[in-house]
């Protein structure tokens, strides 16, 4: 039972990441009709916002300490971050430590700008082009973005830990009446889940309760009609793209303490998030979110030793297997609309 | 005994009775129109005839054979062709190819793996297709992209695609929907011409009274999923029930 609860938590956590990326993907699919292979790259850019912020906060001035030597026997260069000097070593260090949460704020304008630039500069010319062309151009863009990041930050993962105060784990076992230490869950993963829930709720509320959202939803259903009504749907779609980019970016920022970011983390997520979107049903936001959590939970269960010993390799294929079963039993995924991306 | 016999057909969608006990008989070599106000069940009936929907009860027979449970392409192979509300053509193919495809379908059936033979070597079928195009005055556009045609030409092309199969029954689903008066008249002329040239049975589902009365030999009026009356156009015009159910509302 305790193992079961833990895997549900894990599944929800994985699902949060899937759902956040899939949410943006399906928004772009649904509103703009664009297959965006660069969406994973946006997630990766978000993560590197955190890296960049921590680097900025760590900018240091270098002094030479003649009493110590480096590995070659030369005098040691000591670097002291400016924030240490400005706010004192302790406060300065805390500031650097908190770079990941701070990066959320830092990433929003950046990701909005990136999304805006991408849509205006590139994607809008591809609305009327075949999906094949959209795939090629966004895939090309994804490669370019990730290679640029690789050029500046290298291929290795870069550690970006959560602030010390948020490191550690929460003991559900004691809370729920199990043995202490059996159901412990890291704080940051709980934060990630709550963050994802909040973002998803915010996006839904935005689409549900604002006029803007109403128009966009109408546009998702029938773009031409809304266009005929004289509503400038294009401008709204640009904003939608920026929002999708921003959601992916923030998901990336928050993900960095869970796994150290590297330049190809976007590609790692890309295929899975496509599967999530399609299993959820094209053009369905709740479908994408639900499928994200569903696949996350199933993946977690499939990796339990009790199951992998019975069916070896099931943890390797569970997501794809589930995707096949769902698509065969429900032609348009869990909540897909008819006619969207079926040609 | 008509070529198409619909007997006691019922179709429900959830709580909605779309078709209630529909009986219909289309006589060979006539033009039979099915009219009725919006939501009368015309399209549902049509879809039951072509295999897209399966009625809950009742029977549909074509030339003595049941069409129920057959797939659309099988029903087509039995000799029923369909013209859509908005012309359904192969927009990415040339006009000639559009007409060639039904020629192949007629000769080779629903599937044949002819991957090595070359289309241009099928002189007989090409000739057949070209004759058909000439028949609808489109031979000059044989190498055009079908997608680039005007709407009227698309309609002609679709008719040609259906006729080249030499169907025994041609189903027309509001062939003039959304057309301007001039286009509508052209279509009427085209259909008259087609009818004059060959023995063919047509079943037309139509909203536009002008079209119906210019073409139909017999008319069935459908209201709320049930046939109200069936008679000749002249009699239908003055029928009180029809005025009440359909024409009255239509003014």
């Amino acid at each position: 039972m305790d193992a079961f609860i833990l895997q549900i938590l894990n599944g929800l956590d994985k699902g949060s990441a899937y759902a956040l990326i899939a949410l943006g993907l399906t928004l772009i699919f649904g509103t703009l009709g664009v297959v965006n292979f660069a969406h994973g790259a946006l997630f990766m850019l978000g993560a590197f916002c955190a890296v960049v912020l921590s680097r900025i906060l760590s900018i240091a001035h270098v002094t030479v300490d003649p009493t110590r030597t480096d590995f070659l026997g030369n005098p040691l260069k000591v670097s002291t971050p400016y924030v240490h000097e400005w706010f004192g070593p302790e406060a300065g260090q805390t500031l650097i430590e908190w770079s990941v949460p701070l990066a959320i704020l830092f990433s929003i304008p950046i990701m909005v700008a990136v999304g805006f630039a991408m849509e205006r500069g590139l994607i809008k010319y591809f609305y009327k082009r075949p999906h094949a062309d959209q795939i090629l151009v966004t895939f090309g863009l994804a490669i370019v973005l990730q290679e640029v990041i690789k050029y500046f930050f290298g291929a290795n993962p870069i550690p970006t830990p959560a602030p010390d105060a948020l490191v550690g784990s929460f003991d559900f076992g004691a809370l729920l009446g199990f043995d202490p230490g059996t159901i412990i869950y890291p704080y940051w993963r709980l934060i990630y889940f709550m963050f994802a829930a909040a973002v998803i709720a915010a996006v839904f509320a935005f689409l549900q309760f604002t006029t803007f959202g109403m128009v966009v939803r109408a546009g998702m259903a029938d773009r031409e009609t809304v266009g005929l009504l004289g509503i400038n749907i294009d401008r709204r779609f640009t904003i939608m793209f920026a929002i999708a980019a921003c959601v992916a970016g923030m998901a990336g920022v928050m993900y960095t303490p869970i796994n150290s970011p590297n330049y190809h983390m976007g590609m790692d997520f890309l295929v899975l998030s496509f599967v999530v979107v399609v299993v959820g049903g094209m053009g369905s936001l709740p479908g994408a979110v639900f499928a994200g959590f569903l696949l996350g939970v199933l993946e977690s269960f499939a990796s339990m030793p009790a199951i992998t010993t019975v069916i070896p390799g099931i943890n390797q294929v569970i997501i794809y297997l589930v995707a096949i079963v769902i698509l065969l039993t429900r032609p348009r995924g869990l909540m897909g609309r008819k006619g969207v991306m079926e040609e | 005994m008509g070529i198409l016999e619909v007997k006691g057909v019922n179709k429900r969608f959830g709580g909605l009775q779309a078709l209630g006990d529909v009986n219909l008989s289309v006589k060979e070599n006539t033009v039979h129109a099915i009219i009725g106000p919006n939501g009368a069940g015309k399209s549902t009936l049509l879809n039951c005839l072509v295999g897209k929907l399966i009625p809950d009860t009742g029977s549909v027979t074509f030339d003595g054979q049941s069409v129920l449970g057959r797939k659309p392409h099988e029903i087509n192979q039995m000799g029923i062709s369909r013209v859509f509300q908005t012309p359904e053509i192969f927009a990415d193919l040339t006009v000639l190819e559009n007409v060639l495809i039904p020629c192949f379908a007629r000769r080779d059936g629903a599937f044949r793996m002819h991957a090595i033979e070359q289309v241009r070597h099928e002189a007989e079928l090409v000739e057949q297709a070209e004759t058909m195009l000439a028949d609808v005055n489109m031979l000059g556009k044989r190498d055009f992209h079908a997608g680039s045609l005007s709407r009227g030409d698309k309609r002609r092309l679709e008719m040609a695609m259906c006729l080249v199969q030499q169907p025994r029954l041609l189903l027309l689903d509001e062939p003039t929907a959304g057309m301007a008066r001039a286009d509508t008249n052209n279509t009427i002329d085209l259909l008259k011409e087609i009818k004059a040239k060959r023995d063919i049975t047509m079943a037309i589902i139509e909203h536009d009274m002008h079209v119906v009365f210019s073409l139909a030999d017999r008319i069935t009026v459908l209201a709320q999923g049930t046939p109200l009356v069936e008679d000749t156009p002249e009699k239908i015009k003055g029928h009180p029930k029809v005025r009440e159910a359909y024409l009255g509302e239509h003014q």
Partner: protein
């Protein structure tokens, strides 16, 4: 930045033919012309450095490439000579190899066996490379080794740790300097037993591919021999990025040691996740919960940050070694590039020198001559103490160092501290040891 003149080889190679060829094309089959594949006929010789330049191991590949460039410099008599000064064999004179200037070509393995083979093939077929070296995974090493065997050139493996490279997939033309899974197990087990006691329950998370299998087997059999108990072995997909669902069941088992048989990005993520779940702070059966990472990769360990502190593992070499060879190598590498080399760089550098030395001693580039010179070759001064290239399987036998992650690193390169050096006797095994059974070297193939 110093430059190497690469183009000259081809000019010189074909220059002689060019004169006659213009008048009348000469046709001959490549097979009959040379005594062995890519026999260098001009004043230079080409080596092929085949390393991952794209994909997750790109940084490791680049570090290997740096080491190769350094080795080429030293062989050609430029720079400070590095380990050539401390190497026990004095055959190398700093005038290239057999008097021929060393040139090189580079390629990208992408850490895929197909791409690696394509790249190696182009080096052999297009650039005339007489030796291929590099790689940072066993899959690639085995694939390229087999290719070199078929083509008739020498393969000097880069970073490859699976037993198979010199076990069931060994080849006569292939040589491995790096240590292997068995050695990691044999070196780690006594240290672990010493540190953590002999009554331990170990839980294995193993990367679901060949290297994972052989390493898991090596570690588990070595620790079981010390009295440890294996609770569970779980295979994790290569593509996994979030290991939480594999870590969580550890909490519900009675394991008190977690062995992460992961490398590279998998290692960074699984270790980070394990620490997140508070495993380091756990007490099970009255014992502190411990994590072990059998094979350390410094470059990747950097990605795990503070999480590696205090975690045991094994390494082939570390730049903080204080022997003369290591110091010389670190000095010249550090001077050239500004930071210390990784163990991948070290093994690649050493392999290049060993190859060059073998050619000098054999007096020929003929692979069969080189094989003969390397088989049973004993040397010292290359950073690992006295070392033997065993003739039976072309594996180097040397001391293995057990390390643990440093608690308070002084800089980003200062990742591990040496715990113990396990002497070579303890890590030596019979060539027909069950973990290595099933392959045969075959005969050396000179190609042509």
């Amino acid at each position: 930045m110093s430059k190497l003149d690469l183009g000259r080889r081809r000019v010189l190679k074909t220059g002689a033919i060019a004169g006659a060829g213009l008048a009348m094309p000469t046709i001959f089959t490549a097979q009959s012309a040379a005594a062995y594949t890519n026999e260098p006929t001009g004043s230079s010789v080409v080596l092929g450095f085949n390393v991952p330049q794209t994909g997750p191991y790109a940084d490791e590949g680049l570090d290997e490439l740096r080491a190769y460039e350094l080795a080429v410099e030293h062989l050609n008599g430029e720079g400070d000579g590095g380990m050539m000064n401390t190497f026990s064999s004095k055959a190398l004179k700093g005038n290239g190899i057999l008097g021929k200037k060393v040139e090189y070509v580079t390629g990208d393995t992408q850490t895929k066996s197909d791409a690696a083979r394509a790249s190696a093939k182009s080096m052999i077929e297009k650039d005339g490379a007489v030796m291929i070296t590099g790689g940072s995974s066993s899959g690639v090493a085995v694939a390229v080794q087999a290719l070199c065997q078929d083509a008739g050139v020498i393969f000097m493996a880069g970073l490859t740790h699976a037993n198979d490279t010199t076990g069931k997939d060994k080849r006569a033309n292939g040589f491995r300097h790096f240590f292997n899974s068995y050695m990691s197990g044999a070196a780690l087990a006594p240290v672990l037993a010493n540190q953590y006691g002999t009554d331990r329950n170990a839980y294995y998370l193993t990367a679901d591919y060949n290297w994972g299998y052989t390493t898991e087997e090596a570690i588990s059999s070595a620790t079981e021999a010390m009295g440890w108990n294996t609770v569970q072995k779980v295979l994790t997909p290569l593509a996994a990025t979030d290991f939480s669902s594999y870590i969580a069941p550890v909490l519900n088992s009675d394991a008190d040691v977690l062995v992460l048989v992961h490398y590279g990005g998998n290692m960074v993520n699984s270790l980070t996740n394990a620490v997140q779940f508070g495993l380091r702070d756990r007490v099970v059966n009255g014992k502190n919960f411990e994590i072990v990472v059998p094979l350390y990769s410094e470059l990747m360990a950097r990605g795990a940050g503070k999480n590696i502190a205090g975690i045991f593992g094994s390494q082939n070499w570390d730049w903080k070694f204080q022997d003369e060879g290591s110091k010389a190598f670190v000095q010249s590498f550090g001077t050239k590039y500004g930071f210390p080399p990784s163990q991948a760089a070290h093994t690649c550098y050493v392999q290049t020198l060993l190859y060059a030395d073998a050619v000098e001693r054999a007096g020929t580039f003929n692979p069969c001559g080189v094989v003969e010179a390397l088989e049973g070759f004993e040397f010292d001064g290359m950073g690992n103490g006295p070392t033997l290239y065993r003739a039976e399987d072309h594996q180097c036998f040397k001391d293995v160092v057990v390390v643990k992650g440093k608690e308070n690193p002084e800089n980003e390169f200062d990742l591990v501290e040496q715990v113990e050096i396990t002497p070579v006797e303890q890590v030596t095994y019979a060539p027909d040891h069950p973990q290595f059974a099933g392959g045969s070297l075959g005969a050396c193939n000179p190609g042509a």
